[in-house]
């Protein structure tokens, strides 16, 4: 239930003299710190002063103004918003995991290292690749780390002319952004009329300056790039590397493996495929797996096993170094490990089968009345288009997304991928049941019959109506 006071800010709730957290009295004698006066602050930062009841009520009320997986169907395409098992939260919170300091000696973290060592092996097996780094903090950082690995590999081979990264126009924005940050120039490859990589355009742009082809497979249209083997063979013939953006691994677990279709490097989004809770925008975890010839360039450290003992191997002379401090987003890696151990090999395959089944069922239910370019079949997600609706009835993808909120569904990803105008990218995931999918399809089909003016003003039942985004950007107010 939404209340007027829900939107009060902490500084407005602040009341001089109130506090929540009390500290113990100091139990050591004062030995006179001798701090230089110039370093000391006259007063602590002017934080708000809040009592415990107000603090809890404030953030609890705010939480009611969110949609979340635990409260709503959240078919946000490309984000794999599946159920986050409660057992994971309990296990990750075991003091033997949660209270381990990142710089403890190997002898005192043998249990932790055993899990991470096993997780390394699981991720290699699932991707069909030979080596792994668990360090990257998110998918985008995994991409970046892999491109650093590629740059180091080509530098090591003296192939300094390889300055180009090829990226399909349907790719996530992080791909070209990572390429630039790794010092590469991005060359965009067109999609063909089937929504796949345009092979002719790819061949025309492929030469000995090509370093890496970054491909998402299944791609962001939810289609398996059936020519993937041809693409990877062509890239390898020219001496380049193929990078797989693993955002869509949820479609192919135990069915096909990136290493088997020719990828040399791949990142996982553990928070998507292996259900780390998305945390309202993170944390994620983006481990990368690579082929043998790239292993020596991976970030340090890596967990190795000597006899019965596990240790962190920091001594890797050709490594690119580090992309972050400490080991990685271990809390999310642990949850990925829990998930893989809970499901086992058959369970993981069942995940992908049901993810693909659910997406195809939603596609079948909606495509009769809703335009879905390349929509004969899909993998784990599909991209509908409101192009015709917009032209004929002035109903945009945004209108549909906003109106879905009134039905209690989170909106699909809208206006992505860029190759589909008025895109609505829908990924139901395997953890939804048929009734939910039916309710969602019914809502979607009812919305497109509604009056466009009514839709322009949707949502009608949420705590707020559409925000003025222009004002937010023109007169940025980023703090109290």
């Amino acid at each position: 239930m939404d209340k007027p006071q829900s939107t009060e800010l902490l500084n407005e709730l602040s009341h001089a003299g109130r506090r929540c957290h009390m500290l113990p009295a100091c139990d050591v004698p004062d030995v006179g710190p001798g701090m230089p006066h110039s370093a000391l602050a006259a007063a602590p930062p002017p934080l708000p002063e809040i009592g415990e009841m107000d603090l809890i009520r404030h953030f609890t009320n705010l939480s009611g103004r969110n949609m979340s997986i635990d409260t709503n169907f959240y078919p946000l395409g490309s984000c794999t918003m599946k159920y986050n098992p409660k057992r994971h939260e309990r296990w990750a919170g075991l003091p033997g995991f949660a209270n381990v300091h990142p710089l403890q000696t190997d002898e005192t973290i043998q249990g932790m290292l055993e899990i991470l060592f096993d997780m390394q092996n699981y991720l290699m097996e699932i991707s069909g690749l030979d080596a792994v780094s668990l360090q990257p903090a998110a998918g985008a950082q995994g991409e970046l780390a892999a491109l650093y690995v590629a740059a180091a590999y080509f530098r090591d081979r003296g192939e300094l002319q390889r300055r180009r990264v090829l990226v399909p126009d349907s790719a996530h924005g992080t791909n070209p952004a990572s390429a630039s940050l790794a010092g590469f120039e991005t060359v965009t490859i067109k999609s063909n009329s089937n929504g796949m990589v345009d092979l002719e355009d790819f061949k025309a742009k492929l030469d000995d300056r090509s370093a890496v082809f970054m491909i998402t497979n299944p791609n962001t249209l939810g289609l398996f790039e059936s020519q993937i083997r041809t693409i990877t063979d062509l890239m390898h013939e020219k001496g380049g590397l193929v990078y797989l953006d693993g955002a869509n691994m949820n479609a192919i677990l135990g069915i096909t493996r990136p290493g088997d279709f020719g990828a040399d490097m791949q990142h996982y989004n553990v928070h998507k495929t292996f259900t780390g809770p998305h945390g309202a925008g993170g944390p994620g975890s983006g481990p990368i797996t690579v082929r043998k010839h790239l292993a020596e360039f991976l970030p340090t450290p890596i967990v190795v096993k000597d006899g019965e003992r596990f240790r962190l191997d920091h001594d890797r002379p050709k490594s690119i170094g580090r992309v972050r401090s400490f080991f990685g987003n271990v809390g999310i890696l642990l949850r990925g490990y829990f998930y893989i151990r809970t499901l086992g090999p058959d369970g993981l395959k069942t995940v992908s089968e049901n993810a693909v089944l659910n997406a195809n069922y939603l596609l079948a239910r909606t495509k009769k009345k809703f335009e879905v370019p390349h929509g004969e079949r899909c993998m784990h997600e599909f991209v509908a288009s409101a192009r015709t609706l917009r032209r004929e009835k002035k109903i945009s993808a945004m209108d549909i997304g906003k109106r879905l909120l009134d039905h209690g569904f989170h909106a699909p990803t809208v206006y992505f991928p860029l190759v589909v105008p008025e895109a609505l990218m829908i990924e139901p995931t395997e953890t939804e049941g048929k009734e939910t999918l039916d309710r969602f399809a019914d809502a979607l089909l009812s919305i497109i019959e509604e009056d466009s003016e009514f839709l322009h003003h949707a949502p009608h039942t949420l705590p707020i109506s559409r925000p003025d985004e222009v004002k937010a950007a023109k007169e940025p107010k980023l703090s109290w």
Partner: protein, 489 residues
């Protein structure tokens, strides 16, 4: 609801039963995937009929058969919640976490106390099972919480604006440097003090290896960056200077003098700071930092073997267009009601693609929420008391160790909650390993990162440490050193 073992039913009926937990050795189903999947066999059949195919396998037809994995993945078999609980508790018991041994380890991750309210709020699944708040109308809870986080970080740093989080402290430094390089586009040199966290420096080196930038590390033989050394090194080509305050050795830097050297060359002054220290020390904005970054783990996040943590980044107004990551801004809805949205997104990768200044997408939202709750729970007085307790106890510890344990201060510099001591031995790792069995994670061996500090280790003291624990550490170190002097193993 737990399914109980029942008399076997006909196969179709068996499969139509939904279960959250499958009993051990259940012979009806060999997979636990059903634990999280709702579709029953009759649902699947109805769905396949609607699609117009006869099997799920047909849906995978676009994947050429030559690329299919024609075997099971080589992974351990599925296990029940009960079995895995036992397995995981056994593995957790093989670790010696903080708590099982008293933790005096620092180096960017600290054993601070976390008030219960932090877990109570961050444990609400309305937050932790939501995603990036793209749909503002359905995400006001997260958006307002991040706006509060940004505001609290501005108060903590004394700077104008903060983003909604980065991954952690190390990549935070790299992102800040890239901001500075973009803001001073004609300059390419980056100066960093050797006293900055070695892993942060490694991250920065990795990030800059493929860009047009020159990274120069300025030695800190006396445990801090001498402003005169900086004055001798800085040039007109210097885009930015990076220091850490308090630094990796625990020592304070001469921030105001350094800021004035940096300002004279119109370079950008980047400071990696300790958020807790602002309870007693001046804030980055107060002594002239242009960009402040920090590891936010100390603000309500467990040690968790290094992550997920929280990358804090704040800056002066003029750098807003160079800022990486998500920003939440205040606006109004159509009815004039105050609300919050993601804003200034034209900076970000999903809009600018290869022209974006950072590739960050998913960040550390849940840990920004934890930090916001933590800071609100402490308030100004709580933060001050926490910082004072850290400072007093650290100084008592330094004093006690020097008096009783045959160690001496490595640097004659003021410090806050962490300090570096040296011993008459280069076998520091052996010394520290030896006191774990006495119940102490005593400190971090500096030789691992600094070859010239083979005889040194750092000790971090938070508000959680008691006099008894500090005295115990002094005794354990003393006993261990005497044992080693006598030639003991």
């Amino acid at each position: 609801m737990i399914a109980h073992r029942q008399a076997p039913k006909k196969k179709d009926e068996q499969n139509s039963v939904r279960r959250m937990t499958v009993l051990v050795n259940d012979h009806w189903e060999n997979s636990l995937a059903d634990a999280y999947i709702l579709n029953t066999s009759s649902d699947r059949k109805a769905m396949l009929d609607a699609i117009g195919v006869s099997s799920v396998d047909e849906l995978f037809a676009p994947i050429p058969s030559s690329l299919r994995l024609n075997r099971s993945l080589n992974l351990p078999a599925a296990q029940s919640e009960l079995e895995l609980s036992q397995h995981l508790e056994a593995l957790a018991a093989k670790n010696v976490p903080a708590g099982k041994a008293v933790c005096f380890l620092g180096g960017g991750a600290y054993d601070h106390f976390i008030p219960s309210v932090v877990d109570a709020i961050a444990g609400r699944s309305e937050y932790y099972t939501a995603y990036t708040p793209y749909q503002a109308e359905a995400s006001q809870g997260s958006l307002q919480a991040f706006f509060e986080y940004q505001s609290l970080i501005c108060q903590l740093t004394g700077l104008d604006m903060a983003n909604a989080s980065l991954y952690e402290g190390g990549s935070g430094v790299a992102e800040a440097v890239i901001m500075a390089l973009n803001a001073t586009s004609k300059k390419h040199q980056v100066l960093i003090a050797e006293s900055v966290h070695p892993e942060y420096r490694q991250v920065l080196a990795t990030y800059l290896a493929n860009l047009k930038a020159e990274l120069v590390t300025i030695p800190t033989p006396n445990g801090y960056l001498d402003p005169n050394a900086l004055r001798r090194t800085i040039t007109d080509q210097t885009a930015c200077v990076v220091v850490q305050h308090p630094n990796f050795f625990g020592c304070l830097e001469e921030t105001e003098s350094l800021a004035s050297v940096v300002r004279d060359k119109q370079a950008v002054f980047i400071v990696s700071f300790d958020p807790i220290s602002t309870g007693v020390l001046k804030r980055p904005g107060d002594y002239g930092a242009d960009i402040a970054v920090a590891e936010g783990q100390c603000l309500g996040t467990q040690l968790g073997f290094g992550g997920p943590y929280l990358g804090i980044l704040a800056c002066r107004k003029q750098f807003v267009r160079q800022m990486p990551g998500r920003l939440v801004g205040e606006t109004v809805d159509r009815n004039g009601k105050r609300c919050w949205v993601l804003t200034l997104q034209a900076r970000e990768q999903h809009i600018r693609r290869e022209k974006a200044l950072s590739n960050i997408c998913t960040n550390q939202g849940l840990f920004a929420l934890r930090a916001a709750v933590y800071l609100a729970a402490l308030g100004p007085q709580g933060l001050r008391e926490t910082a004072e307790l850290c400072m007093k106890k650290a100084h008592y510890a330094a004093d006690t160790l020097c008096k009783r344990s045959h160690v001496s201060m490595r640097f004659k510099r003021p410090f806050f909650k962490e300090f570096t001591v040296c011993v008459q031995s280069n076998e520091v790792p052996r010394l520290l390993d030896g006191v774990v069995s006495s119940g102490f994670h005593a400190g971090l061996s500096m030789g691992r990162w600094y070859p010239w500090l083979q005889d040194s280790f750092s000790v971090a003291v938070t508000e959680k440490r008691t006099k008894q624990e500090i005295d115990g550490l002094a005794s354990a170190l003393q006993a261990r050193l005497m044992h080693m002097e006598k030639g003991g193993a």
